[in-house]
């Protein structure tokens, strides 16, 4: 079908196709994938253990993480169901003093577990979650709108007892005005 | 050709005459008479398109304190008791967003299409009413009215409504329904139970 010399006669056209085809495909893919990442609903900003981060109008840091089993004294005081643990993460927030009287940021914190035998799981702060807790909780369980001086709040999470066994736990803090970026703190 | 030699006005007049003649076969150009909704008596059972409803009585009551239903000062509650059965094959939620099963008219101060304030299951006072297929349940439809507007012995008109199914929702889950149609009416004389009795 192809007579000898066909390649030689059409070498310019073939060269053009050889160059233009990958370039076109590359541009198309780049356009699609960049758009995908741009519009991704969440973009975590990772923070290593012990580090602090400027996020929203405040500086954030994890002070400490505590864990209580359902059998422990504290667990029974809070009425933990059988087979669950209570993870309490103390977050230090230094609100920036903007000098205005506007209310400060509200935030949403979630606990995430990645890796391990389960697919990525996440839990909401106990005050808004399904499992009820009895007893006296911490004073502040989330960000404060009024405080302007550095403060800490304790985010509580009721999780299954096998959480974090062979997986990494992270705390995700998000402020509505900063979304889709959210601060993701590694917990140890 | 014949069509070339036919004047247009003959064609127009001719086709108009044919159409008018055809419409005479279907009763002429007058609007068709609308059938009035049947009038029932208390205790009659009305089979609607989705619900079979038997209205028992209508009464006035001060409040339902256990259900946290206390009207403003000077107002009272108008209650219509009815037994409702679902004749479809899917559960039917009755919520007071729209009056689409039982309504009241002829009540001073209440517009005709006003949905009930609450719909309660009489047995346990629950206000999450979902009528299951084939399981009749006794319900109380509650409206808030001005205490001076109605008294014992007054007559109100209760309307039984049918929903008109349009289609399955394009984006939403479940069917889309048009404005409810009055399928039957009944006149009831009001009782007054004052503060009511706990059953």
């Amino acid at each position: 079908m192809l007579r000898p010399g066909w390649f030689r006669q059409n070498r310019l056209a073939l060269l053009a196709v050889l160059v233009l085809l990958p370039v076109t495909l590359g541009i198309m893919f780049a356009y699609q994938w960049l758009g995908y990442f741009e519009r991704f609903p969440s973009r975590p900003v990772d923070v290593a253990t012990g580090d602090s981060i400027q996020y929203g109008r405040s500086e954030w840091r994890i002070d400490s993480t505590d864990r209580f089993g359902a059998d422990s004294a504290r667990g029974q005081e809070r009425g933990l169901p059988a087979g669950t643990d209570l993870i309490v993460v103390t977050v230090r927030v230094v609100p920036s003093s903007t000098g205005t009287d506007k209310e400060h940021d509200l935030c949403t914190v979630r606990l995430e577990e990645t890796g391990g035998e389960h697919p990525t799981r996440s839990w909401a702060n106990a005050t808004g979650a399904a499992v009820p807790l009895t007893g006296t909780g911490p004073d502040l369980t989330s960000c404060s709108r009024e405080l302007r001086t550095p403060y800490t709040f304790d985010a509580q999470f009721v999780v299954p007892a096998d959480t974090g066994d062979w997986s990494a736990l992270t705390l995700g803090a998000s402020v509505v005005t900063e979304l889709p970026e959210y601060a993701r703190f590694s917990l140890d | 050709m014949l069509a070339d030699r036919l004047p247009t006005r003959w064609l127009v007049t001719g086709s108009t005459a044919v159409l008018l003649g055809l419409s005479a076969l279907f009763g002429g150009l007058e609007t068709a008479p609308v059938q009035a909704a049947p009038v029932l008596a208390a205790g009659d059972t009305h089979v609607g398109s989705e619900l079979t409803v038997t209205v028992d009585q209508a009464l006035l009551i001060d409040a339902f304190p256990e259900q946290y239903l206390t009207p403003k000062a000077g107002n009272r509650l108008l209650v219509v008791r009815a037994v409702v059965e679902n004749t479809t094959t899917e559960p039917r939620r009755l919520s007071p967003v729209e009056a689409d099963s039982v309504g009241v008219t002829g009540v001073p101060g209440l517009s005709t299409a006003k949905p009930p304030l609450r719909i309660l299951v009489i047995d346990d006072g629950s206000d999450r009413v979902v009528v299951q297929p084939g399981v009749p349940v006794e319900l109380a439809y509650v409206w808030e009215i001005d205490g001076a507007d109605l008294a014992a012995g007054d007559t109100i008109t209760v309307t039984l409504l049918n929903r008109l199914y349009i289609s399955e929702g394009e984006l939403t889950y479940g069917g889309l329904y048009g404005d409810p149609v009055v399928a039957a009416t009944l006149d009831l004389v009001l009782d007054d139970v004052g503060a009511g009795v706990s059953e």
Binding site: G83, T84, V131 | P91, V121, D123
Partner: protein, 197 residues
């Protein structure tokens, strides 16, 4: 070339056209309609076994037909039919955001019955779910007495989903035999409880 096209070429073209039209008709008629495109993703379970979907996992423990039932908080509602009480354990799998037991429907024959919310918090119907933490409690369904004893009741199915709109998400379907045991006169059920058993 000015030679005439032979007749058999015309016939062959015609047949090819008819063939392509037939294939197009088949493709059009077998294309999934909206109902199929939006149908829930079914996970079939069995009595006593844990069935797990994307964000809902449930184990149906028992099913009882009874004339009257008393819930854990004392609620005892009457019905003109019978109560079908299903004891089950349910949990969210990956996230507790917007995870509720929104769909709990018992299908007998061509009729569907939704779990009653009359008992309020004494039933797990429409209860909020927690990730990985099971909630054990009853679901109560009102059924006409003749339907609960009919032949179709031996092949009833229970549908569970983590949203009141079950489209395009996992739906656990468990076949149940409502006629397996004798109907009871009255039973007590426990209040819903959290935690592993």
């Amino acid at each position: 070339m000015t030679a005439a096209v032979p007749r058999w070429r015309h016939a062959a073209n015609g047949l090819t056209l008819v063939g392509i039209l037939a294939i197009a008709a088949v493709v059009l008629h077998t294309a999934p309609d909206r109902e199929l495109q939006q149908s829930p993703i079914t996970v079939t379970g069995a009595l006593g076994e844990r069935a797990s979907g994307r964000n809902i996992a449930a184990t149906v423990q028992s099913v009882t037909v009874t004339e009257s039932v008393t819930a854990g908080d004392g609620w005892a509602g009457a019905t003109t039919g019978v109560w079908v009480v299903v004891e089950l354990t349910v949990e969210a799998v990956v996230t507790d955001q917007a995870a509720v037991l929104g769909t709990a429907v018992l299908r007998v024959g061509d009729a569907g019955f939704s779990a009653s919310t009359r008992p309020g918090p004494a039933t797990v119907a429409a209860a909020s779910l927690a990730t990985g933490i099971p909630l054990t409690g009853p679901l109560m369904f009102e059924l006409p007495a003749d339907v609960a004893a009919s032949a179709a009741a031996a092949h009833a199915t229970l549908e569970l989903a983590a949203n009141s709109d079950p489209r395009v998400d996992s739906q656990i379907v468990v076949p149940l035999d409502l006629t397996a045991d004798e109907p009871q006169t009255s039973i007590d059920v426990a209040y819903p409880e959290w935690g592993a058993r």
